[in-house]
Symmetry: C2
DNA sequence: TGAACATTTGGCCAATTGGCCAAATGCGTG
DNA sequence: CACGCATTTGGCCAATTGGCCAAATGTTCA
């Protein structure tokens, strides 16, 4: 017989939802690329648009998602708007995701050899 | 005049897509809750289902997403299947997301005070 | 103020996702 | 083998998302 478990409380679920929102903001190739670039130095919308090659409005919406999730901040300087990381707490998320992918790839290779 | 930027190469985009897939797997309240629980100790599907209170098939599909993204591994022991983190690299992702949410909340409070 | 540039917002459509139910599969025991 | 329990898979539907275009907004400068 299995131990019966008490269901999650609403508070925990809310915390999970808040954190999931942050991760969701990062969980898109274009948005992750943006954040990766901004982890090096701030960049304006127009230059990001050049880098990405999508419609400016698309890039702007991605930036809006990242900003309202608390990942990025923006600062207007003249006609341009520059974006940068809002907090260094973003870095371990990027690094972790990178490492998960790498170690998973290595593991798959091992399994293939063994296979 | 702005510096013109060279568009991203396909290789970088592929890397971003791979990492985004991992983050996407984590970017769901229920799945994040599962991973958070498993960051403490391994748990079987049936107990996770108790904890979450959703349909077993729903939980199983969430676990499948996390497993095929390289976040979790599973091990069958008798009739039960136990899941656990596949790598410790998952931890900094969780911690980072938590801290982003916290610092953003603090910042919002400050802004509200400042009016 | 009007032209030119930078950015955001609204609207629309195709594609993806998350949930449940039902059915299939895997494993241990009598 | 047949039953019971644990888990996965298939099918279906409602809701969300990401992309582009068009239009609105903000800023500089003549």
């Amino acid at each position: 017989m299995r131990a019966s478990s008490i269901p999650v409380d609403a508070k925990t679920l809310n915390r999970m939802a808040a954190q999931a929102r942050v991760l969701k903001a990062l969980a898109h190739p274009t948005r992750l690329f943006i954040v990766d670039q901004l982890s090096r130095h701030e960049i304006c919308v127009c230059e990001l648009t050049d880098l990405i090659g999508a419609d400016i409005s698309t890039v702007s919406k991605h930036l809006s998602v990242l900003r309202s999730a608390g990942v990025l901040t923006d600062e207007r300087r003249g006609a341009q708007v520059f974006y940068r990381l809002r907090t260094d707490a973003v870095r371990p998320v990027l690094a972790g995701a990178r490492e998960i992918v790498q170690s998973f790839a290595r593991e798959q290779v091992e399994l293939a050899k063994a296979g």
